[in-house]
């Protein structure tokens, strides 16, 4: 039994929508950041599915670069979260509404 490519794309759409909902609803800044990672993963699944469909390596190369940039982004983002927590003493995004630390 083979799996239609459309199923992979639908699964990725479901994951992306859950990521969007979590990004909008969650109030904890770390969880909001995790929702971004979830959306990146959903898009990666789309890339891999299309790379498989058209027998292209470049789709997988793209996923590789997304992973690398996501790792860099996670490091910088979590450092910013630590800096914000140190000055504001809160992780709630509603109370972090000034760019000034």
């Amino acid at each position: 039994m083979v799996v239609p490519i459309a199923y992979y794309l639908v699964l990725s759409a479901i994951l992306f929508s859950i990521g969007v909902a979590a990004f909008l609803i969650k109030r904890n800044i770390i969880t909001v950041f995790m929702a971004i990672e979830l959306m990146l993963n959903a898009v990666n699944l789309t890339f891999v599915a299309f790379a498989h469909r058209w027998h292209q390596v470049s789709g997988q190369i793209f996923v590789f670069f997304v992973m690398v940039v996501a790792a860099a982004e996670a490091a910088v983002g979590l450092a910013i979260i630590i800096a914000v927590f140190r000055t504001r003493n809160t992780l709630n995004v509603d109370q972090v509404n000034l760019m000034k630390l």
Binding site: V3, L24, I25, M34, R53, M67
Partner: protein
């Protein structure tokens, strides 16, 4: 058999993502995100991307999520409290995400026949050998630029998280 494996791990993915959305404690969300990422690695294997499956486990569920759990424990993050902003997000967020999901699902399922099926075997497996040939020959400059990017990210993280004296 591939369909069965796809449905099992696809269910794991969706269950983990929903758990991320519904849990109020960030550490629970982080652990369910690890479930999502590891199940996605299995799906990558089903699509014949063996290097990316390994990289997904090592980079995402290994490095990035360890960093997340480390920060959660470091900051001693408790349960999130509900505020006024969250009610507005409830009103806009759920219908917006549902509309997005409905639109995308409709488009993908209506394109089901031209998109075809995922088939393993018959030269569809992209080996690490194929991947590295493209990465280190055709895309050498972007690869080197990303290593500089990671170096800058490390320096930025150190500077941002440093305690001001």
């Amino acid at each position: 058999m591939y369909l069965v494996i796809f449905f099992i791990f696809g269910t794991f993915c969706i269950a983990g993502a929903l758990n991320l959305l519904l849990q109020r404690h960030p550490i629970n969300s982080a652990l369910s995100l690890i479930v999502v990422m590891t199940s996605l690695a299995v799906l990558y294997l089903l699509l014949g991307a063996e290097f990316l499956a390994a990289a997904q486990v090592i980079v995402y569920s290994g490095a990035i999520m360890v960093l997340f759990t480390f920060v959660i424990m470091l900051l001693n993050a408790g349960e999130e409290e509900r505020t006024r902003g969250s009610r507005a997000a409830y009103i806009v967020g759920f219908p917006g995400a549902a509309a997005l999901l409905g639109l995308l699902t409709y488009i993908f399922l209506s394109l089901r026949a031209p998109l075809g099926n995922a088939q393993l075997g018959g030269g569809t497996l992209v080996t690490t050998h194929d991947l590295s040939r493209v990465l280190f020959r055709d895309l050498l400059l972007p690869f080197e630029v990303t290593s500089v990017l990671i170096l800058i990210a490390i320096l930025g993280a150190v500077v941002l998280a440093r305690r001001e004296s």
